[in-house]
């Protein structure tokens, strides 16, 4: 469904051009969860934003191909891209605190993609879909939350709202860019479980970006490890975890804090 071939991303809004991403290849099948792992600055978020079509075109040059549903996105017209954004590709971001518009009600923000992509749906029907979507992300009292503003919700609730907004058009691909990094550990787990359930029930493919290898291992079937804009290795999650072929991956695994019994 998603195929990335030889993706290169170069920024040139600074003094010298910066090569952020080099020759990245990946494929994502229907219903699959693929994890991209790497430390900050490894280019994993840039890769995700390129797939989501959210890179500002006049600040970057890209080469390679991103083929989504038989369409090439990097060279697609902006108007074509917009038909896909929010409809076939949903995105959730790292910062649930700032990713929602502070002056608009939750209901309005969740239904926005519907209004853009499915204007034929009437107001009453749309309201029903939004409430359903809020219920689907396990928010209590969806009717109440519909009328709330973002500042009245907690971080975890806001991330659920983000997911509800991204999933409202039932996209084929959900890009989750560090969706749990800004949240408490207990809420992290709930969000991960929620994403897994959505993947299972709605067959949405998920591209899960994180720096947390253990988190990625618990949710993703396959993993792509990135370092300095390049691919380190790619493969089935368990295999990479148990038997890393590259030194860098081994270092990443060893960096995971372990729970050990205190020595007496």
């Amino acid at each position: 469904m998603l195929e990335v071939k030889n993706l290169n991303i170069e920024f040139h809004d600074h003094d010298a051009p910066e090569h952020i991403v080099r020759n990245i290849n990946m494929t994502l099948k229907y219903g699959e969860i693929l994890g991209i792992v790497g430390e900050s600055g490894s280019g994993k978020s840039m890769t995700a934003m390129a797939i989501a079509g959210l890179l500002r075109r006049h600040d970057v040059t890209t080469s390679g191909e991103i083929i989504f549903d038989k369409k090439e996105l990097l060279s697609a017209k902006r108007s074509e891209l917009r038909k896909i954004q929010g409809n076939d590709i949903g995105v959730i971001f790292q910062e649930p605190m700032t990713s929602l518009n502070p002056t608009k009600r939750i209901g309005w923000q969740v239904e926005e993609s519907l209004k853009i992509h499915k204007p034929e749906i009437g107001k009453a029907e749309r309201y029903k879909l939004v409430i359903e979507s809020l219920k689907n992300v396990e928010l209590d009292n969806p009717e109440l939350i519909y009328k709330k503003y973002p500042h009245e919700l907690s971080g975890g609730m806001r991330q659920r709202v983000m997911i509800a907004a991204a999933m409202i058009c039932a996209p084929k691909l959900l890009i989750a860019d560090e969706p749990t990094t800004a949240l408490d550990v207990t809420i992290q787990l709930q969000i991960v479980k929620l994403l897994q359930r959505l993947n299972r029930e709605q067959k949405t493919s998920i591209l899960f970006i994180s720096h947390d290898l253990s988190l990625v291992k618990s949710i993703c079937g396959r993993i792509l490890v990135m370092h300095d804009g390049e691919e380190v290795e790619e493969g089935v999650a368990d295999e990479i975890f148990n038997n890393p072929r590259q030194e860098y991956t081994r270092e990443l695994i060893n960096a995971i804090p372990k729970l050990e019994k205190p020595k007496l």
Partner: protein
């Protein structure tokens, strides 16, 4: 609602303080109704008699209380100079200034929002740079000079209106609008420049925020992102400016009416000051203060509607 009531209470107290200070100031300044009506060569005994007759020898607080209750009922006293009720003098001219200020305000709001957004959208391009330069020029030219320029260009060169002429809205509405629109533009231009500059900057700042990226990820195009998402957030500082501006425009209309020879409240104010016609001056000053304070009150309320976070903050502070 509690917030509104609280705000209303402080507004009333402020008004009370201002009226007191104004009344006190005119009590301290030498010269009063007796002197004004009799002239400087009257005998002290005669002046004293008139003072007694007008009740000017009563204690200050008593006179203030009288004046204040009169003011609340719309009775602003009697003009020393013309011997007619002040309210009649002012209320016949006030509509002209209110119409001028409100029209100027509408022009400012109507022009500056699209121009500010356009400028932010095309940041760094030729049009944007041109807008910045024009803005800078307009901001540094005071409105009365703008008025003189407009009179020269549209009155003397293009002959669209006769400089110094004026048509009352009772006789000819079309002519009234024609004669009012240019002074209003003169008042509005510097304010347009200020709000365009502020809105442009605030739009550019908001456009870099996370929620804008979210808006794009839903398939919004740039115009929709700007008008549906950025504008409301970017308007917050602009609303503050506009609140101060409306009051400024009332005062501005007083100055600009001299340039365009419009018989508004400004002319009354100037003659009253030179004749020491204190009841008139007092009434106008307190009325202007009233407009300023009521506008600020409205701005606070609007601010709260536009940004839902404000009321939450205020409520949590008051607990």
């Amino acid at each position: 609602m509690r917030y509104v009531l609280k705000k209303l209470a402080t507004t009333l107290i402020t008004l009370l303080c201002i009226s007191f200070l104004v009344y006190l100031a005119f009590d301290i300044i030498p010269g009063d109704a007796a002197l004004a009506s009799l002239g400087t060569d009257a005998t002290p005994e005669r002046i004293e008699a008139v003072r007694e007759e007008l009740g000017l020898n009563r204690p200050f607080m008593e006179r203030y209380a009288d004046w204040l209750t009169g003011f609340v009922r719309g009775d602003f006293g009697i003009s020393y100079k013309y011997n007619v009720p002040v309210s009649e003098m002012i209320l016949s001219k006030l509509p002209i200034n209110v119409v001028m200020a409100v029209t100027a305000f509408i022009i400012m709001a109507g022009v500056s929002v699209p121009v500010g957004i356009y400028s932010a959208k095309h940041k760094g391009k030729g049009v944007d740079r041109l807008i910045i330069v024009v803005n800078q020029v307009m901001m540094s030219v005071p409105h009365f000079f703008m008025g003189i320029l407009i009179t020269y260009i549209f009155g003397l060169i293009f002959k669209i209106f006769t400089p110094g002429g004026f048509v009352s809205y009772e006789t000819d509405l079309g002519g009234f609008i024609l004669y009012m629109i240019f002074p209003c533009i003169a008042i509005a231009l510097p304010k347009i420049a200020m709000s365009v500059k502020l809105l442009r900057g605030s739009c550019i700042e908001e456009a870099g925020k996370d929620y804008v990226r979210t808006a794009y990820s839903k398939g919004n195009n740039t115009s929709k992102v700007l008008y549906r998402h950025v504008l409301r957030n970017a308007m917050l500082p602009v609303i503050t400016l506009w609140g101060m501006t409306l009051a400024d425009m009332i005062v501005g209309s007083i100055v600009i009416e001299q340039v365009f020879n419009i018989p508004g409240i400004g002319r009354i104010l100037l003659t009253s000051i030179s004749y020491r016609d204190y009841p008139v001056v007092e009434a106008i000053i307190v009325l202007i203060a009233l407009v300023v304070i009521v506008t600020n009150f409205c701005v606070d309320i609007i601010y709260q509607i536009v940004d839902p976070r404000i009321s939450a903050q205020k409520n949590s502070l008051s607990k």
